[in-house]
């Protein structure tokens, strides 16, 4: 993409933000609410069709579930917050973010299935208790984890800024490269620097630093290995933070289908809802990456490297703040 096209992403994201903040999406929200209501009716119809043995009824249910998941994700929510914040704050490629969004949505469905069949069915709890558990215990835990991810982002941004302050105005010293690589993920615009540590990492096991220290390399774990590790930790924290809060719609469907003796259809439906939700989160990730790259493209050369820790710090603080607001609002 050219610089202009990249910057268009930033402009579009900001424009959407302003319109949203001013309530300009009100009519859209009204429309979404209507569609949510329609999807809810369609869901009941689809369950009845399966129970009544209608042909293609299962396919119908899955289609409705997909739409339901998409519509219920179309409003603001913690999954989009954390994926979007992470996408702005860390220079992660879109493909990986999309993968994260998809996995976390499916994991969210898996948590709902586990909650219903592992806890509700075994302990004989009812729908109200399951929802109470989801709303009062699991949701705050998930929100806290999201806040943790935000604080972690902010802390790394702060560390990056301190690193910059330590070497002001350096040109191409090794320390500068070090600092640089730390904030870029390996897929940046400098193939010579990016590929080197990458290849290197594949030649070694992704073990802890201690193992590598003993394997004869003077420089210890490579940057790519460190990034790989933090990347995995990031990924797990993100997925867990999103997944641990099961969607009420999925819980409703799972409990209903279990009681009607069509449990398999309900489980497939829950995952179809997850796929629908993932579509929205993936779109948010794409928007955030576009906006981030647009903002970086406005700056020549080293400017982007200077900006990254700021983005990381700000994105982290916004995510943490919003999560804490959500938490206090929910209490």
């Amino acid at each position: 993409m050219g610089r202009g096209a990249l910057m268009a992403g930033t402009v579009l994201a900001c424009g959407l933000g302003v319109v949203w903040a001013l309530g300009g999406l009100g009519p859209l929200q009204g429309w979404i609410l209507e569609q949510q209501r329609a999807a809810q009716s369609a869901l009941a119809g689809a369950v009845r069709a399966i129970k009544g043995g209608a042909p293609m009824a299962l396919a119908g249910l899955l289609a409705v579930c997909f739409a339901y998941g998409f519509l219920h994700a179309a409003g603001p929510g913690h999954g989009k917050l954390v994926i979007g914040g992470y996408a702005v704050g860390r220079r992660v490629p879109f493909g990986r973010l999309a993968g994260l969004a998809l996995v976390s949505s499916l994991a969210q469905a898996a948590v709902a299935v586990t909650l219903v069949y592992g806890v509700v069915a075994l302990l004989g709890l009812g729908r109200a208790e399951a929802e109470g558990l989801a709303e009062e215990v699991m949701a705050p835990v998930g929100t806290l984890m999201v806040a943790g991810v935000g604080l972690w982002l902010a802390w790394r941004g702060l560390r990056g800024l301190r690193g910059q302050a330590a070497q002001p105005g350096q040109g191409h010293g090794p320390a500068q490269h070090d600092n640089h690589a730390h904030h870029h993920h390996s897929h940046d615009h400098r193939p010579d620097h990016a590929h080197h540590p990458h290849d290197h990492a594949h030649g070694h096991s992704h073990a802890e630093g201690a193992v590598c220290d003993s394997c004869g390399h003077a420089h210890g774990p490579t940057l790519a290995e460190v990034q790989g590790l933090t990347g995995w930790r990031d990924a797990l924290a993100l997925i867990a933070g999103i997944a641990i809060r099961p969607c009420s719609g999925a819980l409703f469907l799972l409990i209903l289908t279990w009681q009607l003796g069509i449990a398999g259809a309900g489980i497939m439906g829950a995952f179809a809802m997850g796929l629908g939700t993932a579509m929205v989160t993936v779109a948010v990730a794409g928007m955030a990456v576009w906006a981030r790259e647009g903002a970086l493209a406005t700056l020549p050369g080293q400017g982007a490297a200077r900006l990254l820790p700021w983005l990381e710090l700000t994105a982290g603080l916004v995510v943490a703040l919003a999560a804490l607001m959500l938490l206090t609002a929910g209490l």
Binding site: V18, A21, A44, V47, R48, T314, A322
Partner: protein, 217 residues
Amino acid sequence: MRAVWAGVAGLAALVVPLPADAHPHIFIDAAIEVVFALDGQAEGVRLRWSYDDFFSLTLVAERGLDPDFDGVLTPEELAQLNGFDMGWLPEFQGDTYALLDSAPVALSRPMDWTVAYEGGKLISTHYRRFDAPVDLGAAALVVQAYDPGYYTAYTVVDATAKGRDDCTVEIFELDRAAADQILQDALAEFAGDEAAEADFPAVGAAYAEEARVICEG
């Protein structure tokens, strides 16, 4: 640095309306009937709540009712179901709010409830008495239907006055843009005041649909 603010604004786009996160999982079509006594004073409100198909199905299945799945409940099953939504916790305000020219009017706990199951929908009714009879005079009596937590979305589908024929009854649909503005204002205030945690703004009220009764009397 402009670019930094661009990034912040982009993020804000994702975050700003966040505490409105709760999206509804139950949809209720509400009918409101304001009941007048012989002396012309309003004495209470009868509410009819028609639950959406999915919630109705879930609730009926959960109770193990309608095992033959024909959408018809026996009188015994209905009797068993009656009052399913009337076991209100003390803090539950009933999602119905009355105002006389914007001053709140207290309503009793629910009484005289009924239930029916028609076309796959559970329909319950209940009556709530005003604490004291309300003399409308020239003022507007407003009855709002909303869930402050927005877990349930109410749509007012019908509004009537019973016992007087000189009253006009209008349904006001919510003004979503205005409601969003109220939400933003409330959040702005909330963000600057930690003590506000205790009473997070009941923004659901802004999303209320309402019936407005004005009598010539």
